[in-house]
Symmetry: D2
């Protein structure tokens, strides 16, 4: 029931504020007997880390993870795994000047209405820094899924209106924007940089693909696989839309075009097309699970904006600080993490109930 | 943890199969002291009921609801409210001929992989008939929300590629497709009818608007209001995409254009635009909450399709039975119901934690 | 999160009031492929049914169960199973005369403080009749456990100060008080009858034993097997104490006497004694799980008592109606049911996480 | 659903092993705006700390708590509060010699059957050291309850067969065994010391009293207040029995003696006696909530015992290490903590649903 926890049987509990002592996460329901090193987690955190290139925030965080519990001699024991990442490069004074102002597009106003109090340092709990916890948890989930040969790949499919077209996954980690289309990568970087120079920000879209997922995952009726994934993805700051398979374009299709016909591929039953995105009736078909999420332009911009302060006075604001002009590339590992957490939860859940085959 | 339950403190537990004895739902966490009549529920069920017009399935179901518990002298007592709707117009023989065939676009194959067994009568648990439970539960939620002056309005915003433009909400319930644009309504009906005549089906999109929602609802970080709503909406059969506010179009926007500036409106703090759809940082702003969902064309079509049977033999199938050539109009009350359930859950949750104002 | 639900992955949601339309229960997480007939449930309901002998309430209820969903051709499908039992022999007028009086020992006062409203007919939701739902759910759990050769046996070990000594389980269902000691059964019946004649009631204790439970069930740290069982048992009306193994007598023991030494029994590791009651560190050892619960004398007595009415006036009350002078014999199947539900929940949970052996 | 979490809306997630890096806990659902200092938590940890007297283990742990998150300028923000306590005085080598032996009365065997792997250092996750997390969480709960004038007092009511008789609560913290009876305290200490000298251990019982609890807390039917408390208390290692009010002695009482008559005390409705222990129908009456728990003698004794090793060979074992010959005095703050957590959870839950008064 904790709003800071996610997952039904593989549960992830996140804590920490942007300028507090530390970010952290507790994982419960981790199967015992899995080999796990801090390095498995570190390499995913490094993908999310700020300061990776000129188009990301210049905040410097080493983001070193410490495994506090649940692992004995590099093997999971079935006990909860707590992971800790200390905050270090904190400049709360950057935020002091507008601590009474509600930054447009940010959660300042809504947090204050909700809680009657607000940790204004660096966005507090509402900061994107919270995703450190998600990426750390996702790294553990990915490790376990890999044993079952399930992999998750995320990438930028669109930034500032520029769409990736060539889908060569081997390119994804080779450019600063994490897109499979090397040519477009350059255009995307340029567009981000241009926005940054004018103190502005840009949006985009991420695609994620789950490969190797067995059929049968997801639980009707409310915990359908796509419903759980939507919950997971929409809980990431900046996500404003989600679609599966051919998504919103289905609104214009006919059933005869949309339905994916079944066929026999050796021993396996497959579908010839995958318009449904690998999920039928909320349960995985065994085909790739394909989803796309829309990412809004970051709220922190240097441009002057109208706002109101906590006393109700109208005012102007220019948001100083160190910010990303586009979070799409850095949100890719976060999206992968949330997908991994959800798939693992469903995989474990299914172990309880599956019928004989 | 039940996959057939939804809600954290206002919980809805659904049961029943399309051709089983009954559909039903148990509501827990209903505040005591609320006036509730069977008629409050019946009028919403009547909006969802099949056979309302020539463009819906011809299955005849009176869908009479019985309140089994939780209400004493027409007042809620705080005890769980169980609602029952008997199934009557069942023709399971329509399904017997293809009980071994996996209907494309349906959950036949995935249910069988998941459970090793499948109730093939009328789609069993995977049938759209399950939404009877949701609409009944949503009717109770709406009644409670109305006390707080919170209302939810859903409508067809697009069917078969035809988009509503005039947004006159008073028209919604006056046409067969539940759209606010009377002129477009006629075109939509024609498009559906045309598809029906060729044994095919069409998709569309529904928009839902929550008015009167106070600021402060929704719970960071995983149970953000939009995350919970996405979970709720994506759990409805046929939904393949969700977006809030300006949604997927944010991918092409700059922050300076996207951010909604704050201003003072009398005593109230408001935003001049509502690109974010009434939710910032996962918490309601007090503006209208606006969301759109993509609805795929129904899977049941008379056109011959390729498929495989449960023995693994390739085959052809033509899906007989009584089906909707477009579910968009009938899904409108279902969407309203799921939104109402989610908003009520957040409203009750917030009562525990809200800070002093 | 529903307070009317129990179980983590095998979840039971109960509804209904004593003099409402019906009692019922929804079971989720039932494994698919299990043979289940209404008769499996009916035979357990018949054990709980009122009017079985002169020492129980004379309310006449046939308690016929209807399976509303989740079973297809007598096989569970993995979908939620809803079970319904209509109320029939209702005499609400018996309660009308003291509807404004708080009956001592009953929940009238506390319900009114909690909810501000109260269904006074036959105790409403607080009635022992609610256990119909538990027994029906427990019957399904028992059926599934039996496949794994796990059985649960409950019996009266003490009534009105008279203790059973001979432990011949084959006698339990042969006497009106459900005790394994035939001689003591007669004394117990006499003691109950004597109390009944003076308009009074008596208490007692029930013992429950789980046989065939594999080692490894129960989940540290908060969901220890004994913690979950205690939750389950203490939620039964009238239960005021719980102990496992040698229970409260451990307070006077030394560790050297209390510890159960391990030994080898063929391939199996066992303990020579079972002071811990089959649970170590919250996890089953594989030995019999043994627990005892204290049952208070029923609150409904004909003797005149001091009380207060809902307006705050002091008054006298004599509780008319049809009541049990001792609920110990009828609570036995309820206790078995709650134990079965808990053990099944842990058994399913363990399927997700167990290490290789 | 996490087995390492407790609470429905005030949730506590515990992690850490006895000889791992740290113990910790994450609290969610903490109301915002509460003043909270590390010292509030430290003083409760100091009550639980080892090495307080000659009758406790000589392990030296400073148990300094660090607040990692959720508190800003010494005020709670509504975000999750993570608390960390580093382990320091670790002598894992003490355990190395019997790492393959199953210690009688310990969870070694059952953990191995459950998980297939076991952290044998100091009992790992099954160690009493886990209660550091509970006491830290309980300290926060107590602080919040105090605002509502709700207090919880625990004490040793029996040790090694010696019962406290004089109930002067002001004495509790003045003696090494935390009993309100100063004279008996001396006898208890002597009995513990005698057992210690012979390498043995003794059991006892703790009583806990909640004062100032308003009527209306606890949620029928499965989440009755006494059911939740039983879950909470039985989840503490070493607890083998629980009773409320007059507890097991109710088995010998008649209803006319057991029922607590209502009367008027000024504006308040009260009961003349409190046999039910302050709970009727699972809901608090407003009287003191009174419970007693049985504590087994600690499993770690120096006496030679029969056991089996992980290869299945029978063997002898003498458990070396630093152990408590009686955990009753140190378990008192743990019991208070679990009671506080449960009461706060119910208090917050009730805010959502309470009827008008």
């Amino acid at each position: 029931m904790s709003a800071n926890s996610f997952g039904r049987v593989f549960t992830v509990t996140s804590f920490g504020e942007s300028h507090g002592n530390a970010m952290g996460v507790v994982l419960d329901g981790v199967p015992p007997g899995i080999t796990l090193h801090a390095l498995d987690i570190q390499k995913e955190l490094d993908r999310r880390r700020p300061g990776q290139s000129k188009i990301t925030t210049q905040r410097k965080e080493s983001d070193k993870v410490e495994i506090l519990s649940g692992v004995f001699q590099n093997i999971t024991t079935g006990s909860p795994i707590a992971l800790l990442v200390r905050n270090s490069d904190i400049r709360s004074q950057d935020y002091e000047s507008f601590k009474h102002l509600y930054r447009p597009g940010h959660a300042d106003y809504t947090y204050e209405k909700k809680y009657g109090i607000r940790d204004w340092r660096g966005g507090g709990r509402a900061s994107g820094r919270e995703t450190v916890a998600r990426v750390a948890a996702g790294a553990v989930a990915k490790k376990i899924l890999l044993i079952e040969k399930i992999t998750i790949t995320g990438f930028s499919i669109e930034i500032a209106g520029i769409k990736a077209e060539k889908m060569d996954y081997t390119n994804i980690e080779k450019n600063d924007v994490r897109t499979p289309d090397t040519e477009k990568a350059e255009l995307m970087v340029r567009a981000i940089d241009k926005a940054r120079q004018s103190g502005d920000s840009v949006g985009g879209a991420v695609q994620a693909v789950v490969r190797g997922c067995p059929p049968g995952l997801g639980d009707p009726v409310f915990d359908k696989l796509d419903a759980l994934l939507s919950h997971a993805l929409m809980s990431i700051g900046g996500v404003k839309g989600i679609e599966f398979g051919c998504g919103f374009s289905c609104t214009k299709m006919r059933g005869s075009m949309y339905n994916d016909p079944f066929y026999k591929d050796g021993e396996r039953i497959r579908t010839r097309t995958n318009n449904c995105g690998g999920i039928l009736g909320g349960i995985s078909t065994g085909e790739d699970i394909i989803m796309r999420v829309a990412i809004r332009p970051p709220a922190s911009i240097l441009v002057s904006q109208d706002t109101v302060d906590s006393k109700g006075q109208e005012s102007k604001i220019e948001v100083k600080g160190r910010h990303d002009p586009c979070i799409v590339p850095r949100v890719v590992p976060v999206i992968e993490a949330m997908v991994a957490i959800t798939i693992l939860d469903c995989l474990l859940f299914q172990k309880m109930y599956k019928g004989e085959e």
